[in-house]
């Protein structure tokens, strides 16, 4: 059963948006408005809605209101895939950040 991750909220990503602001400031002409922090925030929003959909269906299954068994299985599958995807994006971002931090000056 999937449950929403209370720890993962948009409030935790102010640091990322600060990084986005720092990088977009010198190259303001090249940014088209959708910086990395925005993309991450959007995908987190989508993850939240996917997980709450799966949660609703899980509740329906428990109360006997579920019309279709496969509805819940698909929703939980989608939620787990979306979680994996956001975690993968996060890992890539963190590793890119670490790579930059290791850079010799």
């Amino acid at each position: 059963m999937t449950s929403p991750i209370p720890g993962v909220s948009l409030a935790g990503f102010t640091g990322v948006s600060a990084i986005g602001g720092a990088t977009s400031a010198p190259a303001a002409s090249s940014t088209s408005g959708s910086d990395f922090a925005g993309i991450l925030a959007t995908s987190l929003d989508q993850l939240q809605s996917t997980q709450s959909k799966a949660d609703n269906l899980a509740t329906q299954a428990a109360t006997g209101d579920l019309q279709d068994v496969h509805d819940y299985m698909i929703a939980s599958n989608e939620a787990s895939l979306a979680t994996e995807m956001v975690v993968a994006i996060k890992n890539q971002a963190v590793s890119a950040f670490n790579e930059i931090m290791r850079m010799q000056v």
Binding site: Q46, T50, D68, H70, D71, M73, I74, N77, E78, L81, A82, E84, M85, A88, Q92
Partner: protein
């Protein structure tokens, strides 16, 4: 959801086939339901589906409606039946069990095929997410 479309599309196929299974189940369960000759016999349930155009809608399939077969039935001489008329006749639905079993197999196989699509799509998406992990 636009991101994992293959799964919700296959889900619509599972829904359509489940409704088909329900209709076949309804037909088979009523195959021996007698009725008065003055009434209609049990009418065969037939589920009709149509494609949801990919690009305009979400893609997949949807149940467009349920149509009913003829209520004419076949007249059977059963004088012991409490529903028999003065000539001793009752009406049975004119449903062919062989047809229904064939439809049952098609609906079941279609349902399973859509479930397999979801499984394979999950594997494929997982492979895409594992890209770059070495």
């Amino acid at each position: 959801m636009a991101l994992f479309d293959a799964m919700s599309i296959a889900g619509s196929g599972m829904l359509a086939h489940r409704k088909w299974l329900d209709a076949v189940s309804d037909n088979i369960s009523n195959i021996n339901t007698a009725s008065r000759t003055s009434d209609d016999a049990f009418k065969e349930r037939m589920v009709s589906v149509q494609a949801v155009e990919y690009g305009q809608g979400d893609g997949g399939v949807q149940v467009s409606g349920v149509s009913f077969g003829s209520g004419e039935g076949r007249i059977v001489y059963e004088p012991d039946n409490p529903l028999a008329d003065e000539n001793g006749n009752v009406k049975y639905p004119d449903i062919d069990l062989g047809d229904q079993m064939a439809e049952l197999m098609m609906a079941q196989r279609g349902y399973q095929a859509n479930a397999t699509v979801i499984d394979r799509a999950t594997d494929a998406y997982k492979a895409a997410l594992a890209l770059g992990k070495g």
